[in-house]
């Protein structure tokens, strides 16, 4: 970086509004085309549908203007586009189901209602949660909530076994998959817990070969979560969720400690657990058979635990080929659960490989914006939370699409934003809201520091806007800064004097560990320490 120019950070709300136009357009056009393709007529309520989705999207946009003006302008449009594509596909499948006289032909209307509820909750999160660091106060509450949510389906009466997996809870007419929300709670807990304990996990312990082994007592939590994942796997027969929790934990642990050893340990534990599970439990072993020998006639016809559904999905995608059959012109209703677990196969059939890759690219953009937010945000908790939430979304997509395309064994999980299902949609919109909230923090300029960073001025200028004093009472130390552009080698003691932009994040000022709670745990808990050490 040659010089530090006090450049204006653009909030990006205009860009967002502009991007919302094509994002909404994709969903609405998809809806119309699905109707045209399947019934030959424009859906009768298309105006109301277009108006409704537009109102929902613009509502979030307006809340962002008011409450998170610096939030990443790309996240919302991508989410709106994905949600719209999902609605169009579900509508298309509902037409096919209605033609076959199936009872579940109302899925499109229900998903639309869930979209409205999801957006309302996302708006509530953005409105009420002014600072994501507030969540850190609820670290242990989140842990308890997370565990309760995960284990809730095991409660007699409440829990329901559907299609062999006990992942549902039904209260009166409303059913939900609590694990979807448990995912968020655990992400909060992991981020809060690990940001506190990262040093002991990272530094204490023996070094064996190239691996830094943690101490046994620090190994406790990972073993606990590993055990919890196994409980989910065994008692709820839910491979996907246990895989998801474990992946989330290992990823956040790695982010916090920067120790590859944790990934290795995590993978060893997981592979070990999976191997034992595959050997011990019939349904896990069956999944592996199905994965490896899906097209064998014996496996195909095996009931239960055959590869029929998977193979029907593959048939669907194959019939779509490169460019798809066109919306409304394929036969996605031939694939069981085409509207939920297998919506990727339905999209692959009607939109083709081209459409499927476009959708995957949308997810790539979404996840990369989430991880960018994690890199950009200044506090460790925010980094872990944004990183964890982004990764869990990416990992969930990987597990679902990888399962459907036979890259990995099939596990039941929903495709974020696309698949039918209230719990999933609400949870993912809340995740999007949290990422938007954190990205607002990440992209918000820190004028005070920028002013200091210009040597000519020499005097810290307190900037209006954010009234919080940055960096506690040590701001005077910043006057004697070295030349701009010279990397400051920080010694053993963490000193926050560098005005040099750390290697990754030119738009950011130096460490500003301005969360009071951070100081309680770790005075030195900043990311720069980690970067320059």
């Amino acid at each position: 970086m040659a010089s530090v120019q006090p450049h204006r950070v653009r909030p990006g709300r205009g860009t967002e509004l502009l991007l919302l136009v094509p994002a909404l357009g994709i969903g609405i056009a998809g809806y119309v085309l699905a109707g045209l393709g399947a019934t030959g007529a424009v859906p009768p309520h298309v105006i109301a549908y277009a108006a409704g989705t537009t109102v929902l999207a613009v509502a979030v946009h307006l809340v962002l203007r008011l409450r998170a003006p610096y939030a990443d302008p790309v996240i919302l449009p991508v989410v709106v586009a994905l949600n719209g594509i999902g609605l169009a596909m579900i509508y298309r499948i509902s037409i096919a189901y209605a033609a076959r006289g199936r009872a579940d032909a109302n899925i499109a209307d229900r998903q639309l209602a869930w979209t409205a509820i999801s957006v309302a909750l996302a708006v509530a999160v953005l409105w009420l949660l002014r600072d994501h660091r507030t969540l850190r106060r609820y670290t242990y509450t989140a842990m308890v909530a997370g565990l309760v949510l995960i284990l809730l389906p095991l409660v007699p009466v409440l829990g329901q076994t559907i299609n062999g997996a006990r992942i549902w809870v039904r209260v009166g007419p409303v059913g939900m998959q609590p694990a979807e929300f448990g995912k968020i709670a655990l992400a909060v807990f992991f981020a809060g817990y690990l940001v506190t304990h990262r040093d002991t996990l990272a530094l204490a312990g023996k070094r064996v070969l190239a691996l830094q082994l943690p101490r046994a007592r620090d190994l406790g939590p990972i073993l606990l979560v590993w055990a919890a994942s196994l409980v989910v796997l065994v008692l709820q027969r839910d491979l996907g969720t246990s895989l998801l929790f474990f992946g989330l934990f290992v990823a956040v642990l790695y982010l916090a400690t920067e120790r590859t050893s944790w990934i290795v340990i995590g993978l060893v534990l997981f592979v070990g657990g999976a191997a034992v599970a595959a050997a011990t439990f019939g349904h896990v072993g069956a999944r592996f058979d199905v994965w490896l020998h899906a097209l064998d006639d014996e496996i195909f016809r095996r009931d239960p635990g055959g590869s029929g559904q998977l193979v029907y999905g593959l048939f669907g995608m194959a019939s779509g080929g490169l460019f798809g059959t066109g919306l409304g012109q394929g036969r996605p209703d031939l694939v069981p659960f085409a509207y939920s677990d297998f919506i990727v196969a339905a999209l692959g059939e009607e939109l083709g490989l081209t459409g499927l890759i476009a959708i995957l690219l949308l997810y790539t953009i979404l996840v990369s914006r989430g991880l960018r937010t994690a890199i950009g945000v200044r506090d460790g908790f925010g980094k872990l939370l944004a990183g964890g939430l982004s990764f869990v979304m990416a990992f969930q997509l990987f597990v679902v699409v990888g399962g459907v395309t036979r890259l990995i064994p099939l596990t039941g999980l929903t495709t974020p934003f696309l698949a039918y299902g209230g719990s999933s949609l609400v949870a993912n919109w809340v995740i999007a809201a949290l990422l938007l909230r954190i990205s607002d923090e990440a992209r918000r300029p820190v004028p005070t520091v920028r002013a200091v960073a210009t040597p000519d001025i020499g005097v810290p200028v307190s900037a209006p806007g954010r009234s919080r004093p940055v960096g506690g009472g040590r701001s005077t130390g910043r006057t004697g800064t070295p030349a701009v552009g010279t990397p400051v080698v920080v010694g053993s003691a963490p000193v926050r004097t560098s005005t040099v932009t750390p290697p990754d994040g030119p738009e950011r000022g130096p460490a500003s560990d301005d969360s009071p709670t951070e100081h309680l745990d770790h005075a030195s808990d900043t990311d720069e320490r980690g970067e320059t050490r």
Binding site: A256, L314, V401
Partner: protein, 483 residues
């Protein structure tokens, strides 16, 4: 924490690239094999979603796809299912298809390369693709006459136009109603299929071209043709015709029908055919030799595994490596000689057409949905089965069979009919198969026909080709001549 975040970003990117790779693998590299997988019902469903072309006989659709309000969109409907079951076959979701529904599938679905431009136009104009119409050579009146003639008896009738090879009638009994297999309920269709598959008389397999029988005395036409073609025989050449013929190296004998005599120790070849003299033709076969007989039968279409009309026709058999005893029996159409009814119609048709056998065919034209002709079958010679001199000699001999021989039941006032009866012995204790093959008018043939009634039909052990099969052939001939 930014370094691991960057690494994590790389990992997610790798995961997504892997997903795109696996999607490409499924949708591009594997697509072909998945699309052609036998368990993939999608192709069938897609065909059902399109208007499958009709099958037409005499200007009337005998198989059509009718729009219905269910997920398949169209219901295959057969207007006179039982009558045309040997022609159309069936088209079913649960059990795939047969006969023309199978053989002309690409045309009926519109997937044929010949329909490429029609398809492109449909694609551009957004029209739902429609299959082509397959117009058959069937003459409904002849088909109906054959069906009526067979009635409840198990058997088959094939009528050909000798000059072209067009199949005018193709009836197999018992037939079946393809409508019961075309139902969209797979379980119901499967149950119906099982029932038909196990039904007496094997209705799903048309006797006309997928079943073969001992041709019995009708095969004497082939033996007589071989004799005439050898140049050593004329219609009036005397041949030995003992009352009993002891087969060489055996104690077995061949006798004549009803144990009777053929009219002396020697009769003319013409008389031998007229009275269907077994001993004469058995000794004639031994004189001519196996190779001569097989070669002659091949020129009539025997031993051809590739014959298709367009449905594949079961190969008719003339055995090889025969000792004299077996050869004698083969010469009169017994033992291992086996012929499909279509094959015997071809024999008659070759004789009718001056010795030139025309390739039989069932599809006249294929028309795209806009009525343009996609393809038209041109008559093609199959072989020169016999010389025209032999053909005319055989014709005269066959006229004798109908006028004053075993085939009097086929006589039609004012029309000279040439024919040959056959009463083929089957397994011990079972009534014989009754055959009759004929053509008419003898001087300018418009139709050649072969009829078989299995196990004597209504007459049982009393049956002969002349009594049971000849009247059916006459009815078919009359129907063709009347049209």
């Amino acid at each position: 924490m930014n370094t691991p975040l960057r690494r994590l970003a790389t990992i997610t990117l790798v995961m997504f690239v892997a997903l795109m790779g696996s999607a490409t693998w499924v949708q591009f590299f594997q697509a072909e094999s998945l699309n052609t997988d036998g368990r993939n019902v999608r192709t069938l469903y897609r065909e059902h979603g399109n208007a499958r072309g009709p099958i037409v006989a005499g200007g009337e659709a005998i198989a059509t796809s009718v729009p219905v309000d269910d997920p398949f969109g169209y219901q295959r409907t057969y207007s006179q299912g039982d009558l045309y079951s040997a022609v159309t076959g069936f088209y079913s979701i649960a059990n795939s298809r047969s006969q023309l529904e199978l053989a002309e599938n690409d045309q009926l679905t519109g997937r044929s390369d010949q329909l490429f431009f029609t398809r492109i136009r449909d694609l551009l104009t957004g029209k739902r693709p429609e299959g082509a119409a397959v117009e058959t050579t069937i003459l409904p009146a002849a088909q109906q006459a054959a069906r009526n003639g067979l009635g409840a008896q198990h058997g088959a009738v094939v009528a050909l136009e000798p000059a072209t090879g067009r199949i005018l009638a193709l009836v197999s009994t018992p037939g079946f109603d393809p409508n019961v297999l075309a139902v969209h309920s797979t379980s119901e269709a499967a149950a119906q299929y099982r029932a038909l598959d196990q039904a007496d008389g094997n209705p799903l397999r048309p006797n006309t071209h997928q079943e073969r029988y001992a041709p019995g005395s009708t095969f004497k036409l082939v033996t007589a043709a071989a004799a005439l073609e050898s140049g050593d025989y004329q219609a009036d050449t005397p041949v030995p015709s003992p009352d009993q013929l002891t087969l060489p190296q055996t104690s077995a004998t061949i006798g004549n029908f009803g144990g009777g005599s053929c009219g002396g120790e020697q009769v003319s070849l013409a008389d031998a055919l007229r009275t269907s003299c077994n001993t004469a033709f058995a000794s004639l076969g031994m004189t001519l030799g196996e190779d001569v007989l097989r070669e002659q039968s091949e020129r009539f279409g025997f031993l051809d595994p590739d014959l298709a009309v367009p449905m594949p026709v079961v190969e008719s058999v003339f055995p090889s490596d025969l000792d004299q005893a077996v050869l004698a029996q083969s010469a009169i159409g017994q033992r291992d000689v086996q012929a499909s009814p279509l094959q015997m119609a071809m024999v008659a048709s070759a004789i009718a057409n001056g010795g030139r056998l025309m390739t039989p065919y069932l599809v006249e034209t294929v028309r795209a949905a806009d009525l343009t002709i996609v393809s038209q079958t041109d008559p093609e010679p199959y072989s020169d089965a016999v010389s025209s001199a032999t053909a005319s000699a055989l014709t005269q001999m066959m006229v004798g069979v109908v006028d004053s021989g075993t085939g009097k039941a086929a006589r039609i006032a004012g029309v000279q009919v040439a024919g040959k009866t056959g009463t083929a012995q089957t397994v011990e204790g079972q009534p014989p198969h009754a055959w009759f093959t004929a053509f008419a008018p003898a001087d300018a043939p418009r139709v050649a026909v072969a009829v078989i009634v299995e196990n004597g039909g209504n007459l049982g052990n009393e049956a002969t080709g002349g009594a049971v099969a000849a009247p059916i052939a006459r009815a078919v001939i009359e129907a063709v001549l009347a049209s």
